[in-house]
Symmetry: D2
Subunit: 260 residues, 4 copies
Amino acid sequence: MPNRKFWNTSITRVEPNSIRVRGYDVTELMGKRSFGDVVYLLFSGELPKSNEGKLVEAILVAGCDHSLAAPSADTVRFVASSGVPLQASVAAGIIALGDSHGGAIEQCARIFQEAQPQTKDVAALANDILAAFRARKERIPGFGHPQHTADPRTARLLGLARGWGLTGPHTELALAIEAAMERQLGRRLPLNVDGAIAGVMSDMGLDWRLGKGFYVISRASGLIAHYYEQVTQERPFKEVLWQEIEYWGPAPRPVPDQQS
Amino acid sequence: MPNRKFWNTSITRVEPNSIRVRGYDVTELMGKRSFGDVVYLLFSGELPKSNEGKLVEAILVAGCDHSLAAPSADTVRFVASSGVPLQASVAAGIIALGDSHGGAIEQCARIFQEAQPQTKDVAALANDILAAFRARKERIPGFGHPQHTADPRTARLLGLARGWGLTGPHTELALAIEAAMERQLGRRLPLNVDGAIAGVMSDMGLDWRLGKGFYVISRASGLIAHYYEQVTQERPFKEVLWQEIEYWGPAPRPVPDQQS
Amino acid sequence: MPNRKFWNTSITRVEPNSIRVRGYDVTELMGKRSFGDVVYLLFSGELPKSNEGKLVEAILVAGCDHSLAAPSADTVRFVASSGVPLQASVAAGIIALGDSHGGAIEQCARIFQEAQPQTKDVAALANDILAAFRARKERIPGFGHPQHTADPRTARLLGLARGWGLTGPHTELALAIEAAMERQLGRRLPLNVDGAIAGVMSDMGLDWRLGKGFYVISRASGLIAHYYEQVTQERPFKEVLWQEIEYWGPAPRPVPDQQS
Amino acid sequence: MPNRKFWNTSITRVEPNSIRVRGYDVTELMGKRSFGDVVYLLFSGELPKSNEGKLVEAILVAGCDHSLAAPSADTVRFVASSGVPLQASVAAGIIALGDSHGGAIEQCARIFQEAQPQTKDVAALANDILAAFRARKERIPGFGHPQHTADPRTARLLGLARGWGLTGPHTELALAIEAAMERQLGRRLPLNVDGAIAGVMSDMGLDWRLGKGFYVISRASGLIAHYYEQVTQERPFKEVLWQEIEYWGPAPRPVPDQQS
């Protein structure tokens, strides 16, 4: 990578009346290629060789909204109600896509990729990974869901990926960990949608550092709908009444004079 | 709309092992419908009747990136270089999609929709709108571009929309304003991609308040690529050297003692 | 202002081992001047001539927190619970300080400053301003409060400002509008803390465009306390249960096949 | 902590016409106590016993601005130029206060606090900490500065803290690490302002998790000045010209047809 200027990029070249993304004229991409293909192009540098764009589209659909049960949507409701433009309200919701709200994609994909299941016995690898987590008394990310005993998006996503020939050793590893957990813990903690995305994105050759990226794009669509619903259907200034707040701090007290 | 609880929504119902967006099971949408269809569903409440989902996909592709020539991308570079997670870095870039950076979609769609071109003479309407802006000495949003004499995305987007039978009176109004401007000002200030999106989204029946929404989803994809490039290809802490900064404030001076 | 370089500023000159804010060595400001003095310096370009720094400190104290009754604090709670670093969680809360959550300082200070009460009859001006708002059927910002019939911070702030010799025609105008409202509407809608800050900041010579600035600095302190309380005292992932959400959208329906 | 309601807090109780922060009436705090005292109250739960509020004020002054040499200020410039309200522009800059831009306060205070220097030999402890970092080939945070060979704020802050009787074992540990580094590495890598704040905040009994909090409040003041300067003194839409961007990605290429 040359680094002669302050501003360097390999993503897009803009010239007067020309915009080329990774070398492709954006006007040629429009209409000819799906947004899923272009997301794959932006994330990996190349257009899909087979059905990767379809799978990206399915991932984007999978994560589009989870109602007000998601903290990011509640965030958007409070911010939008305070008189803030769409993009800034939605950005506040996107900030909320943190380590424990979608962050499992990144964490889980990292585990899968660093394990390098391409060249190893996947069942043994799954046992080792699980044992390491149990030794540290940590929960492995990407399994279980607070509101679903079996995340309905997982089976569908893996089914589509399989049908499109896009599952491989990383997805196998995800399922092997699920099986190992059931054997070792005696109960099923099923792979959730984050873990499933982590598996298939790894098999599509995408870096785990991009894991949250799918979620940011996908959930942005739902958060925009929450912004719009808030400003068109609800009262301005979403307000928790003081009576609803349990205060458990110090009782009233006088302000002491400053000493020194 | 009932409003019996603190948390109300018409977007998605979440129940254990079930997620229904606008009544549709998300697992049925996955694979069967494009992300463009689902964005249209989230924005309008209904799935497309014809090619609207394809046009939404083309809009999302059109706006995906504009290199470091866009302030939002520069924003992401500085934030990502400071050791900030992906979603928060990208959110900072999304905040930058303000009134003068993509905001023309919303502003322009509002003008088009409030003009109600469905029932009026479009050429006369265009003259009136332009005259009103000129009287206030304001520039009409959605025309001209700082870096392109003719925004290459405009013709392509309108061509696709026309081919899919999705242009109507709002798009006609956009083009009529362009023509009126050329007549009245003696020079061509062509419709840019923001103005073109404003026209076709209005003809697809989408509220102008959602205008920036397309741009947020679309450009998120490019901003993620900029985040990734920054953290994998560039030095940490993107830093303007003090020698590069022109300081034009007061000369060195001693701090006076407080009076009172 | 010279504009020879891409990066221009009159705020601070950084050189190796030297940081000068508006010409003052920051190490000389430290300990010798209050943070209120320095905020005034940053906002106006000059250190206070009299008690302005004390008044800025009182403003910062006044707005420091309003419990979970403020949407910005609720925002921080949801974001912090999702596994997001302090600065990004607090930034999400700051985004919520929009037009209807602290925005009245800016709006109100603009009204006061554009009215130019220095050279006019303040009572007549108050009547004119109020009449203009009533003619447009708009509420004048800075008066009334959703949770306080009389905002307790107003009287205290104005009392301090008066004692420090810092009230003038803008504050008088604020009070004259309050009186005019009582006369014209037959009920008291008292000046709230936003309106009081708008008055005294205008009398201190600060541009209305900086109005929200006081609130951003001040409330940041409370939002940090909310972040800290969330991560140390509450369960991770602040979650609205699906049973608590009233869904009022379409009933379950099958996904139709795509037409075209 | 009781947890009977969804909304729980020990920070502030709001009732009609009453706001009590940690039990203190906010109107009594106003004028009687500095903002530094109130920040300490919000962070620790109690008002300062001695000079802690003065030291907090000095910390807030120390970090108020670092010109356009700080990525957060550059962030605000780009966002503000795009037509974004003050609070959202400044919030974007605050997001940039990440692990490598002010984050050293938190990281460094954590090291100091977990080392528990109150009960140990500080010089030995310093050697151990440094050895552990060197063994992991990591740089210890809080020492050195990209633009200052000796951060001028450090000596001043420690001098003030010492004069106010507020230095203790954590600050001693910071200085012992500096000395150990000089001995072990043969060159001086002086404690920077982040490391100095980490030391004194630890000696004031504040949790390392609050480390970035000082910086958020402090730098907010400078970022507001940058917002204001951008919108009043500079051209809208801060724009990197395409000629200034070094593109190093793929050469122009045609979009291939989709295979499957």
